[in-house]
Subunit: 155 residues, 3 copies
Amino acid sequence: MAGTIEQKLAAQGIVLPEPVAPVANYVGFVRSGNLLFVSGQVCNGLDGKLIAKGKLGAGVTIEQGSAAARGCAINLLAQVRIALGDLDKVVRVVRLGGFVNSAPDFLEGPKVLNGASDLMVAVFGDKGRHARTTIGVAVLPGDAAVEVEGIFEVA
Amino acid sequence: MAGTIEQKLAAQGIVLPEPVAPVANYVGFVRSGNLLFVSGQVCNGLDGKLIAKGKLGAGVTIEQGSAAARGCAINLLAQVRIALGDLDKVVRVVRLGGFVNSAPDFLEGPKVLNGASDLMVAVFGDKGRHARTTIGVAVLPGDAAVEVEGIFEVA
Amino acid sequence: MAGTIEQKLAAQGIVLPEPVAPVANYVGFVRSGNLLFVSGQVCNGLDGKLIAKGKLGAGVTIEQGSAAARGCAINLLAQVRIALGDLDKVVRVVRLGGFVNSAPDFLEGPKVLNGASDLMVAVFGDKGRHARTTIGVAVLPGDAAVEVEGIFEVA
């Protein structure tokens, strides 16, 4: 029987990808004690292509960026599911670090990151409310518009 | 009776703001075990306006940036006080992450961040000495000159 | 008698520097419980000079950047040795945060950071596999090409 969180995902039509292990000497997540550290996820969609590519403030809109941030959050959850086997074991989303590929005059990073924050609360409710840091970076891997990393408390 | 740290704040004329909860699906802090993760704080002063706006190396001086970093640190402590009720419960300032809104040729980020580090040691003494990472970012929310996030060990 | 990890370092010709304490109100590392947080390390070599200076995509090559990232990882290990006395006490490399001083069109940050990730696995084996976040930043302290911070689980 599917767990509570899996049911919420299904009810909202959220499909988690099967994450591909990094082709390098790092991994998607590491657990230490009750904390699960998940590697920075760029905004790949289910088709493996970037949901938004390029810089906010120079071609990518806030709406596109927010959708990209939501995609990053979905990719984080895919890693968490692999790590824990069951998303119901998430006790709390502790922290999201949000990186917005930004033109030097793009000031609305938090609106972009809300796409990730909203997804976490839609899935986990109050357990999904997290500490957050948003910064505008010079560039991201593969010219992804957004990257998000996460720390989760687990049972 | 005011705690030791509150007395130190008063003696140094440091007034903590009453933090406003973020108007979004994230929060100012999350505690997990003995670690308190505080969201990135931009350099708002007590009047709610940015202490310094724009880029270091392109209009904002190191002195202004350092004052801004100090303001970020004060905002972190305001969050910690809300979280714990009493700043005396801070066992250690574990880590500060410092983000300096930088022109691409501004090399003195650590001097800017010292404004935050000095504040922590002025308030907590040796317990205030922390691990630190300083980077120069393309831009920050609202064009803040500095943003600082923190991890605190709590009793 | 040298520990296992010290023997591995010696066998691979890796020499750790004697880290200089920061000349400011922060420190090279802080331990909290079983987690050791190590401050961001720029890419100084054993001679104290930057292994690579400037921006990837604007003068610094991927090969130079990767060597710089390896140097950052060596500097992290030097801090860990000071913190623990013995690198054999490292249970796991939990997370590396990698910051690449990047021109706004440099998309290959992960290839640069592999220099740090490869070093960790060369030294610690599977315990060296870590969660990782790579971002391209506007600038770094002293115009270092790469900076890396780390979280380690310790016995």
